[in-house]
Each structure stands twice: as C-alpha cells, then as structure tokens.
C-alpha cells in the first residue's frame, strides 16, 4: 500500500504574501483581485479577519471596516512560487513529488524508513523545513492523496494516519473536507449526510446511480479507497519568484531591497536542488501595466544571492526603470555548478563567479567599454588598441610558460587621442616641438619612418613618424599626418 505525505498551507495566498513581505506578518492584510477600490477581497490574514474583514468585500469596504488594513493585489505568480518552494522542500525528502494546481504538495513517502525513523518524524521534518522557507505547512500522511490531504487540513500541524485506519479516521469528519461541489453538497445535506462516515456507509452503486461519477468518486474517497496516482513533476529548469506591491517604487535602493529578498529565496531554493543560476530574467512591472524584461547572465553559474544582486544592480544602474515599479518577477534558469580542476603548478585565480561580480561592479563604476582584456589588434596602425570582455584565462596555460623574456623593454605611454603639436623646422630638420603640457628643443631625433595603410577602409592612415628627445628630458613619438599635414604626438617612451 502506498504512503503519501501531503503538505498543505492554510490561506496559501496570504502565506505566499507573508513569505515575500515578512514585514506584514502582524498587520491586517487583505488580498483583492485587483488594484481598484471596487476590487473584491479574496483572502485575508487572521488579524484582518478578526477585525471584521471577510471574503467578498470590496477593497473600499475593507478599508472602512479596518482603518489600517493593507490591501494587496492578488498575484498568481507569488502564490505559485510559494507552492513551488513547498514542492522544492518536499523534494529534499523524496524524488516523487506532485504540486497540485491549488498549491498542495504530495510526496510519495513509501520507503521513507531509509531517511527517517518514522513517518511522524518525516512529516515533522517536512513541516520544519517548510517553516524555514517561510511557509507554515500542515502535513498529513495516509495511504491515499485524499486521505493525506484531509489529515493535513485536520491536523493543524502533523498527523499520521496509520495503515488501514483511513476509514476510521475519516468517518467522524465533516463531509465538506471532501470538497464536494455545491450541487452534491446540497443533495447530501438533503439526505442528512453530514459526516464522511455517513457517506461511506451508503451503498456504492446507489450513490453512483444518484450522484453520477463525481458522487461515486466522493464515496470511494469517503471509504479511503482513493486510487488517484501521483502526477510527479520533473526537476524544474526554471525557478520563479515574484512580488506584487500595492504601491510604486521609483528609486533604486528600495527596489534592490526587495530584489535581495527575492534573490535570497531563489538562492535557498536552488540550494535545495543543489543547482545554480545560469541566467536570470528580471521583469519589472510598471504602474501602467507594462513589463520590461531584462536578462542577466553571470559569467559562471552561481547560487550566491549577493553576486546575483550585484549583477542585477549593475544592469539596473545602467538601464534604470523609467516608471514606478509595482511588481517584480525573477526567473532563474537552473544550471549545474561547474567544478574546476585546480593546477598543482600554477596559482589559483579568483573564482569565476566572484570575478564576474567584480567585473560587473567595475563596469558599473567606469563604464562597460572601459573594463576588459586589452587586445593587441592585428593591424599595422601604430595606435591600434582595443578592449574585449574579460574571461577567466586560468583554464588555458600562460602564453610564456616556457621562457619569460628577462630583458627590460621600453614601454610607450600612449596619448589618446593624439596631442596636437606645433613643430618648428629649420633647413628641413625638426628644431622645436611644443604640445599641450610639454615642449622643448629637439636634442635627438630618429626617423622618419613612413607608414601608410588601411587604404581600403574609410579611415586610412598615412603618417611620417619620428622619435624625438626634447630638452625637457622626455622622449616622444610624434608623427605628421600625410593627409592633413598636421603634427601630432601619440605617445611618450617610458
């Protein structure tokens, strides 16, 4: 006989909201089906219900009943994320997990003796782990999904129904726990059937004849004969966290505060699966209803919320939201953590994840085009230089591992852009050079070297180069542009 554990969160919509916004835990909170004053309350916290707020009220009525009620628009994604988080927790105790449409989670705990001493202990662990992830779940264990669900709903904590004792457990409970539809409930009430045991005692054929297939299924469940199988979910490839606000955020810092919270939850869920985030899709929902997705890809898969926050922050600083944000959605594409083989004979570089975060911060500080790896451009143009994205080179051997040149070489300090010069010549020889911030009589001179190239492009060069030592003691590389006849200095030897 199968054994099923069911984790059920009462008022899941409220619990999901509290999970993303724990500061509302003690507040009167009502969840409405929209943002307008006439939107209808569909769920409320215990505090709000104690203050007199009930389902079906409009948001305006709720505010009249309770002055300090916080009316938050319903977010299906927030609720689904809470359900998925509960399923992730359950998946730490067994591979066969089902997440139903209403957010209830079923776990096949057959063979759980290998993990826990008893089913009660397993249910307690499941409830405790759910609590650590911000969800106060009730857990029931029974032979079928329906019985386990009823056990969870009835328990208020943890309840294990012993094997073959399902009929005895169900018999005294109210028929409403089987969730009959309104017509069936009315019919059963007219028959005087108010307890599950009453329905279980009725002849199965007669019930099916009068109530149809739905009634027959209800009667089977009443007898503890539910044979519905688990619809196991696969390991998720995308984890989603979302938050909806009743107000707009137009500054970065409070937005990052909420993002950090979502990323922490995402990181803890990734840790449950032993996975990392390969790419992050951040969607900012604006007041006018528009949503702007942004994709952030770390250099290496990571489950570190701090690193992900740095990357998202960098992205948002570069492309800030142009309107107040009323909702956030983060979808993380899962990836396996890459392990790197260390080298015995070479120093270890920084971790790829930390390096990616540092480069993101440097790009935010200086501009992305001003951070990277210098590239020796394949060109004869003397001032050709380029920068490209920096990737961890430690996977490839160093270029000079077989012999390092030991002699010192003269370096050039490049002037970008080249500095315009005034050059005085006498009898065809350079006599005096003056530029911005330097100048002097020419002491020594080498050159000219004539360079002409890239005539096939829109920006050809035609230059006459000299190396000059001036009386100020410095050595400059100067050239005369063959097209404009202008003198320029493009570097100083150092």
């Amino acid at each position: 006989m199968a054994r099923i554990a069911c984790a059920w969160v009462p008022e899941l919509a409220v619990a999901a909201l509290m999970r993303t916004r724990p500061e509302l835990r003690d507040a009167s909170v009502a969840i409405a089906d929209g943002r307008a004053a006439h939107s209808v309350v569909i769920a409320a916290s215990a505090t709000a219900r104690a203050a007199g707020i009930c389902d079906g009220m409009t948001a305006a009525q709720a505010r009249v009943v309770c002055d300090d009620v916080v009316v938050v628009p319903y977010s299906a994604e927030t609720v689904h994320a809470a359900g998925a988080a509960l399923a992730d927790v359950a998946a730490t105790l067994g591979p066969r997990v089902e997440l139903s449409d209403d957010g209830t989670v079923y776990l096949d705990c057959e063979g759980s003796a290998a993990l826990c001493a008893s089913e009660t202990e397993l249910a307690t662990i499941l409830a405790a782990r759910a609590q650590r992830h911000g969800l106060a779940a009730c857990v029931g264990v029974a032979a079928s999904k329906a019985a386990a669900r009823i056990a969870a709903r009835e328990s208020g904590g943890v309840r294990v129904v012993a094997r073959a004792e399902e009929p005895a457990f169900l018999a005294p409970l109210a028929i409403d726990l089987l969730d009959p539809d309104a017509d069936t409930r009315a019919t059963l009430t007219s028959w005087g059937v108010t307890r599950i045991g009453d329905l279980a005692r009725l002849p199965a054929g007669e019930v099916a004849h009068r109530l149809g297939p739905a009634g027959a299924l209800l009667a089977r469940r009443a007898r503890g004969e539910d044979d519905e199988i688990l619809r196991c979910r696969a390991t998720p490839t995308t984890l989603v966290e979302a938050i909806t606000l009743e107000y707009g955020i137009d500054r970065l810092e409070p937005l990052l505060f909420l993002l950090r919270r979502l990323l922490d939850q995402l990181a803890s869920r990734l840790a449950l699966h032993g996975l990392a985030c390969g790419a992050l899709d951040v969607t900012l929902e604006h007041e006018r209803g528009a949503a702007y997705p942004r994709r952030v890809v770390p250099a290496a898969p990571t489950a570190d919320a701090k690193v992900l926050l740095v990357l998202v922050r960098t992205h948002l600083e570069r492309q800030p939201a142009d309107d107040a944000v009323t909702g956030l959605r983060i979808a993380a594409a899962t990836a396996r953590v890459r392990t790197t083989q260390l080298d015995l004979f070479r120093s270890n570089g920084p971790s790829a994840v930390a390096l990616a975060a540092t480069i993101a911060r440097l790009a935010a500080l200086c501009g992305p085009e001003r951070v990277g790896r210098p590239v020796d451009v394949d060109s004869h143009r003397p001032d050709a230089a380029a920068v490209t994205g920096f990737t961890d080179p430690t996977t490839s051997p160093p270029a000079h591992s077989n012999g390092v040149p030991t002699d010192a070489r003269v370096a050039l300090r490049a002037f970008r852009p080249p500095v315009a010069l005034e050059v005085f010549e006498s009898a065809g020889r350079l006599e005096y050079v003056r530029g911005r911030g330097f100048g002097g009589r020419v002491v020594h001179l080498a050159g000219p070297w004539r360079l002409r190239g890239e005539w096939w492009t829109a920006d050809p060069y035609d230059r006459e180069y000299y190396d000059v030592e001036l009386t100020d003691g410095a050595l400059y590389r100067i050239f005369r542009d063959g097209r404009t006849r202008q003198w320029l200095a493009d570097g100083m030897y150092d």
Partner: protein, 167 residues
C-alpha cells in the same frame, strides 16, 4: 619597470589588473614586452576616486598577483584620504596581492612598503645608415624607502631596449 612586473606575474599564470587613470596603456607595446594580455584586466577609470575604488573592487578577489594603479595623469593626487590607502593596504595584505602605484609624487605616503624612484639618465640613439634610430633608455633606480629592512644597495642602473621593430 611596470612592464617587467606585469610580464613576470602573467608569465606564471596569475592575473594582473592594470588600473589606468591616464589611459596610456598600449596593448601592442605590452604584448611586445612579453606581457600575456589574456591575464591582464585593463580598467580605465575617469577619476582618481574611481581608480582607487576600482582597486578596492579588484582586491576583494583572491588570486590577482599584481594590481598596478597608474595615477600619473598630471593632476595632483593629494586629495586622496589616508583611510583609502589604509583600506587598500589591508585588502592587499589579506589577499596577498602586490599593489604598485605609479605617480610623479609620493602618492601612497606612509602606507607604501617600498618606494622606488626612477630617473631617466640618457636615451640611446644609433646612427647607422642615413636614418638614426632610437634603441633604448638608461635609467637610475633609487630605492627611497623599504619597510622590509635595509637594502644592500639603494641605486642601480637599468637599461630598457626598444623592441625589434621599434614601435
């Protein structure tokens, strides 16, 4: 001299960061001097403050062998608060990274472990054929300060040659 340091660090497979405030680093010359550019992170900040902030960011990572902070852009760097240098030296000590600061004055002050002053002596020109060519620079290297103990000599001469193709 910075090229020699960068070359030595990158040749052993370690990463080096070049924080280039005046934007003077020339990849072509660096490659010719033997620096493995794949191991160099080139950062071109716009202000001295950004340069030192960038150095702090880099020093948060373990695994960089050398961080070169070039502050020689002709502007005064006296406005850098001492606390900044203290943070940098602490971060460098924690991550076992060497910082080399370039400037025309004593920029790091009392926080520098070693202060080296380079003085150009002469430039060498070769007059073979009709067209003379620049062949190298001779400089005197003075060790002005060393917190690691008294050095055996405080002044050496160093000659740097131009590469095979000049520039």
């Amino acid at each position: 001299m910075t090229c020699v340091l960068l070359r030595a660090v990158t040749a052993r497979g370690a990463l080096a960061a070049c924080i280039d405030l005046p934007d003077v680093f020339d990849p072509a010359h660096a490659a010719r001097a033997g620096i493995d550019l794949a191991h160099v992170l080139w950062i071109r900040p716009r202000t001295t403050r950004d340069a030192l902030q960038a150095a702090e960011y880099v020093l948060e990572n373990e695994g960089f062998g050398l961080v070169v902070v070039d502050l020689d852009d002709g502007r005064a760097t006296g406005t850098v608060p001492a606390s900044r240098w203290m943070r940098l030296t602490r971060a460098a000590a924690q991550t076992r990274t060497a910082i080399v600061t370039l400037g025309r004055e004593n920029v790091a002050g009392t926080f520098a472990m070693v202060r080296i002053e380079l003085q150009r002596h002469a430039a060498a020109f070769e007059s073979v054929g009709p067209c003379p060519s620049f062949t190298g620079i001779t400089a005197a290297v003075h060790l002005r300060k060393c917190k690691l103990g008294a050095p055996p000599t405080t002044r050496v001469a160093m000659t740097a040659a131009v590469g095979a193709l000049g520039w």
